[in-house]
């Protein structure tokens, strides 16, 4: 089924458009660097790149406020970067250095950051979804306790098309709808779960329909068009904050690279990938900005330079970072203070 998406929303003002472009470019260049560093064996383990899907994170996450929360997957560098986790700490995490946002304990799949309420980085497919439900439950209760903002905090939960086949997805959707919780479910439908195409994994491939069956508003969105992503997300977040309960957004997108660094990509044709690259979210926005005279070659070069500087700084920072002493191996199995510390609400 092809999606006759509604017409793309109008371009926003130049500054805002530039921010969107900058975010996407940052993710792109940051991850291209990661791939390079992987070859150099600076980064190890599993590395899942977001390249091609940048519009989803860039269009949605900046709409969240500082008290809102994000739950993501193992393909979460993009989410972390636009959420404001410093590129330095994200990169250092992948180096396994102490300066990483999880002290290097987690690596690429486990980006965590208390400051920005970035709750991972979950590498069990679907495993983060119930957690998002719980964060939303806490947000609702907080409000009734009276010591929190007037409007509901929103929890944005990212997961892939593949995750929707997991039982945890089902249980979480039902809980969120049943309890009318302030969660934004963001499905990044990139048409594959590793090598398994959508229609080999789901009897109902219209994922927004599946979500709607729990009785929550669910829309399908052009995930390559950052303006469409932003528009849909804005409307959903407004509704949620106002007490409209959980919303589900299916972002139709595509990953341009392999699933992970180990993937020989036997399961899809090069032509298919090339076809999708014609709708590269960065080029799409850049062309529209050029057409509207918001961007020229010089402007683009400037952006590229900014982003490159940020990435280079992240690499430098990580190179200079330090290794956790082996003596500290068994730290962080239990909290170091016995007191009931924990996150403040």
């Amino acid at each position: 089924m092809t999606h006759p998406y509604p017409p793309s929303p109008p371009l926003p003002d130049e500054e805002h458009a530039r921010t969107l472009l900058r975010h996407m470019l940052l993710i792109r260049r940051f991850e291209e660097k990661c791939a390079e560093l992987y070859t150099q064996e600076k980064i190890r383990g599993f590395l899942h790149l977001y390249i091609g899907e940048e519009a989803v994170a860039a269009g949605s996450i900046p709409l969240l406020g500082p008290d809102d929360s994000v739950v993501a997957t193992y393909r979460e560098h993009g989410q972390a970067l636009v959420r404001g986790v410093p590129a330095t700490n994200v990169m250092a995490e992948m180096y396994g250095k102490i300066e990483g946002c999880a002290r290097g304990r987690g690596g690429s799949m486990h980006i965590f950051d208390a400051e920005t309420r970035f709750f991972g980085g979950n590498a069990i497919v679907g495993g983060g979804i119930p957690i998002a439900v719980g964060l939303a439950l806490a947000a609702r209760r907080e409000r009734s306790l009276g010591d929190s903002p007037d409007e509901l905090r929103v929890t944005a939960c990212f997961f892939g098309d593949g995750a929707m086949a997991e039982g945890e997805f089902h249980e979480s959707m039902n809980l969120a709808a049943l309890w009318h919780l302030p969660v934004l479910f963001c499905c990044e439908n990139n048409l594959y779960a590793m090598g398994t195409p959508l229609d080999v994994a789901h009897s109902e491939t219209e994922l927004a329909l599946r979500a709607a069956s729990y009785g929550m508003p669910s829309w399908t969105v052009d995930g390559m068009d950052v303006l469409a992503v932003e528009d849909a997300t804005r409307r959903a977040i407004e509704a949620i904050r106002g007490g409209g309960g959980p919303h589900f957004l299916e972002f139709r997108t595509y990953r341009f690279r392999a699933h992970s660094m180990f993937d020989p990509e036997l399961y899809r044709a090069k032509e298919e990938v090339e076809k999708w690259k014609e709708r590269d979210p960065i080029s799409l926005l850049a062309s529209r900005m050029r057409e509207a005279d918001m961007l020229d070659d010089a402007g683009m070069e400037e952006l590229e330079a900014e982003v490159e500087a940020e990435v280079e700084e992240a690499v430098r920072f990580s190179e200079e970072g330090s290794w956790e002493p082996v003596e500290e191996l068994t730290r962080f199995v239990y909290s170091e203070s016995d007191v009931d510390g924990g996150q403040s609400p």
Partner: protein, 330 residues
């Protein structure tokens, strides 16, 4: 004041809810039904749906939601009806609750308490009679509590709720009706140390939870024959109080471990291994184990009784390692 174990748990929940506005109870049938073991009867009426939350049959979903709520600043008490159903939530317990603190390099701790009923003895057959608390004790990041007395049933919950990390509390199904004295002002108890429930010289009987009472009865019987058994209640299975274990063995030089779980790979194995590692030269006889038979629990009473450790089995195991008996050493 006389109370039941059930009432002690209920009081502990009530107190926690009253004392800390972040606390709530969540689980299947904890509200309208009153709890499958009637532990939370009356609490929904008293505290309302925000504090006593009935959930759908979604073990992974609501345990995960409890983890999320804990991350979000709440102090959830999640009830999983029985340990058997917790297998459906194992991903959340092991991959998330136990792991998040480490994986996040200390950024996020998970102050959740998960309560579940455990154990056999009620003729509810293979899928409803498991004792997996010792199995859970394998997982770093979790704390495993097994209250065996009214005092611990009353007091461990509060301590668990103050713990910054995930705590699992296992309540043996046969204890809910147990009656006993409970001080009016009973409150929080420590959860770090095992407790000697009976002092003795000749042998250490090491146990926990539902089996404690069988061990005490066995000790009574042995006393009649002049055998003085010390009974150690582990109370907490992770972290194990190794010091207390080694000390009692150093005193008596003989140990019998009593554990309702299937023998192979049960916590009794770990205790035996630690005794070997830490008190080898104190041992006058091999460490003995009285465990559950390695069989899914059968329904008929005579077979279920045979599958679970009984007082007689404990007495016999003790006798088998006393001096002068075959296994009893020199």
């Amino acid at each position: 004041m006389t109370a039941t174990y059930r009432a002690a748990v209920r009081e502990a929940i009530r107190e926690a809810i009253i004392r800390d506005e972040r606390v709530f109870l969540m689980g299947e049938d904890v509200g309208r039904y009153g709890g499958c073991y009637a532990v939370s009867k009356g609490l929904l009426e008293e505290f309302g749906e925000d504090r006593i939350r009935d959930t759908p049959l979604s073990e992974s979903g609501f345990v995960g939601a409890g983890i999320g709520a804990a991350l979000g600043g709440m102090r959830p008490i999640v009830e999983v009806m029985t340990v058997n159903f917790s297998l459906l939530a194992l991903d959340q317990i092991v991959n998330n609750a136990a792991t998040l603190l480490h994986m996040s390099g200390g950024a996020f701790n998970v102050p959740i308490v998960i309560r579940m009923a455990t154990g056999g003895g009620r003729q509810v057959a293979a899928q409803h009679s498991r004792s997996l608390e010792g199995w859970y004790a394998h997982i770093p990041g979790l704390k495993i509590l097994t209250p065996a007395t009214l005092e611990d049933a009353r007091g461990m919950l509060w301590t668990a709720l103050q713990d910054p990390d995930p705590v699992l509390i296992f309540e043996h199904v046969l204890l809910y009706n147990m009656e006993g004295d409970l001080a009016e002002d009973a409150g929080a108890v420590q959860i770090d140390r095992a407790a000697i429930r009976r002092e003795g010289r000749d042998v250490s009987v090491i146990t926990y939870g539902g089996s404690l009472h069988k061990a005490l009865e066995a000790a009574d019987r042995l006393a009649e024959d002049g055998v003085s058994a010390e009974v150690l209640d582990l109370r907490t299975l992770r972290p194990l109080d190794t010091e207390a274990i080694l000390q009692t063995v150093a005193r008596t030089n003989r140990a019998v471990i009593v554990d309702e779980a299937w023998r192979s790979g049960s916590i009794s194995a770990e205790i035996s291994a630690r005794i070997t590692e830490g008190a080898f030269y104190h041992l006058d006889a091999p460490v003995a184990r009285v465990c559950g038979e390695e069989v899914p629990t059968p329904y008929p009473k005579h077979l279920e009784d045979a599958a679970l450790p009984q007082v007689d089995d404990i007495v016999q195991a003790v006798r088998s390692i006393l001096p002068g008996t075959e296994g009893g050493g020199s």
